[in-house]
């Protein structure tokens, strides 16, 4: 399969936009107006972009604590996301959730919650409902490799396999859970997609920093999930560039080897792809500037919107506890 020029630009645009958004969050976090934990995904742009580029609006995505990119790639409103992080009434959850509880039902971002693994069965249940209703939708569940240590992940995979549910499991393996390396949590040589396969869900492992490959492979997989109602598991290796939670770089803490960090920085999905597209003449510096400007404009607008928005009224405190 080939990717046409426009799609390439779209993929690049999606990635660079997400990065610029989070860089702005990081920059402005110290103003102490975004008063909630933020888990930035910088470095992991290719996965959300490559997968979600294949999804339609009706398809549904669930995520966890590190959800900004999934929200954005699925078409969630930037204004509402920034407002949510600022705790404003215009936020996607009315300010009640903060960065760890993004949601945009219209866009199909159904839920993101910070209890590790907890959205996985919920996504499977939703896929089950879709299947019973014969809706030709796919549910995509994004989670970190840490989630795969939770029993509920296993229970969910079992059920998706048992009932042949149209769900795509996307495991972003960035090798760390907070500061804990994989070697403290899973045996060496574990292949997560093998685990899925042993349970009856087909799987593959991909380079999580190669956006075109992700896009192309995911296209095929998603089509087959839709056609066959069989679940699928994709494991993607990638790397988070900043600290686990918060706006900073934490390489000074030395929980990750410098050589490893350098290796992955070199594999930056955006730098690499930009080079490629420049070389292929899909992009040039003029086009790039236009893209940057456009994104900057959008970002600035969104932050202004959020900053100007009001905090929710006190009377909102006791609202919507019950439907």
């Amino acid at each position: 399969m080939k990717i046409n020029k426009n799609k390439k630009i779209e993929l690049f645009y999606s990635m660079i936009r997400m990065r610029m958004i989070e860089e702005k969050i990081a920059e402005k976090y110290s103003e102490q107006e975004m008063r909630c934990p933020v888990h930035l995904s910088i470095g992991q742009e290719a996965i959300a972009s490559g997968i979600c580029m294949n999804l339609q609006k009706k398809d549904q995505v669930l995520s966890a604590h590190r959800s900004h990119f999934h929200y954005l790639a699925k078409g969630g409103s930037l204004k509402k996301m920034i407002s949510e992080i600022y705790g404003k009434e215009t936020g996607c959850a009315g300010g009640k959730g903060g960065s760890m509880h993004l949601i945009d039902i219209q866009a199909g971002l159904i839920a993101a919650v910070p209890i590790v693994g907890s959205t996985i069965p919920i996504g499977v249940g939703l896929a089950w409902a879709n299947k019973l209703d014969n809706l030709k939708k796919i549910v995509v569940i994004f989670f970190g490799e840490g989630s795969t240590e939770e029993g509920v992940f296993y229970e969910s995979i079992n059920f998706a396999a048992l009932h042949n549910l149209p769900v795509l499991f996307v495991c972003e393996n960035n090798f760390y859970s907070v500061y804990s390396g994989l070697n403290k949590r899973q045996p060496k040589k574990r292949k997560l997609f093998n685990v899925a396969e042993s349970l009856g869900v087909k799987g593959i492992s991909l380079d999580g920093n190669n956006v075109e490959e992700i896009y192309l492979k995911a296209k095929k997989i998603i089509k087959s999930v839709q056609r066959t109602n069989h679940p699928f598991f994709i494991e993607l290796s990638t790397y988070r560039f900043l600290e686990h939670c918060g706006p900073n770089n934490d390489d000074d803490l030395e929980y990750r080897p410098t050589s490893e960090i350098l290796f992955w920085k070199k594999k930056c999905p955006i730098v690499k792809y930009k080079k490629k597209l420049l070389k292929e003449k899909v992009l040039n510096s003029k086009k790039l500037d236009k893209i940057y400007n456009e994104i900057n404009l959008e970002i600035n607008k969104s932050f202004k919107f959020a900053q100007k928005s009001k905090f929710p009224k006190n009377s909102n405190l006791m609202k919507n506890i019950y439907a």
């Binding site: 009315g94 039902i105 069965p121 249940g125 089950w128 509920v152 969910s156 439907a323």
Partner: protein, 360 residues
Amino acid sequence: MLKKNSINKNRFIQYTQAINEALMQSMKLDKKIVILGLGVDDPKRIFGTTNNLIETYGKNRVFDMPTSENAITGFAIGMSLGKYRPVLCHQRVEFALLSMDQIINQAAKWSYMNDGQMSVPIVIRLIIGRGWGQGPQHSQSLESLFANIPGLKVVCPSSAYDAKGMLISSINDNNPVIFFEHRWLHSTYSIVPKKHYSVPIGRSKIVKKGNNLTIVSSSYMTIESLKASEILSNYGINAEVIDLRTLRPLDIKPVLKSLKKTKKLLVVDNGWTQYGISAEIITRVATIKKLNKNLAINRMGIADTPIPSTRNLAKLCYPDCLDICTEVGKILNIKFKNLYSKFKSFRAQDVPNKNFTGPF
């Protein structure tokens, strides 16, 4: 036809059948209602409560499940987001302890977390209480663990009539409802209309009028409290018995009203008393400025211990009607003569009824 039957006052049916009717009738009215749980379609049909469901509504609406309690609850939440209305069942409340994350962190907070854009209309039926030598891990009554959590509704009907009506209300409710069924209530009978009717969530009920003292209880302990009030009447004592029926949202008004009259309160807890349901009831009373003078207040409940299997220790754990009478006597400063000899036949043993021969 329906109408005729529904006014037939003599239609006594069993609690389990009442549950079954609620499910059967609700499923007929709303195709989005689905039944999930271990054994919902097996030969025993959850003590008969899921009889005929799979035959009538088919295997796309009635699902046996793997032994994966945490995920099952998540599936139910997910289905509800897809506009289904799952009714989930665990044959022992203990199994639900595996799914507290999904219940407390997710279901209870879902509506609030997204500021009302979506809600989670699921019913979780949890079977509590005693059995035949069930021992420490199959006999707990953990209502207060759920009643503490905003975002949940928690109900515990004590009669077949309420069971049917409140299960229908629970299914119709757009929020997660924890529906407690006591094993020993399953074999009780009451008059139950055949029609589809609802009993509102959030209303306690005076199940026996009286003016000498107020007994407040819930779930199976309401039965023992009623028996106690019958015995007490032999001693010239006229107790008012209030069945809470819903623990969250709690309806304390009938209790307060009753106390204006009786000035005496005994709360009979269906579980452990420490940090239990009874503590909340008493606190609601004790913190009312105009009421808290000159009241006699006490509570009782299951002994503060894991429940042993052997019958001669297990029976010591559970207060019964005679123990309730004794506590009433303490509040009223009366000693009831020959209580334990005269009314021995009222006592519950380690089985809910004579026909019970184990093993569960």
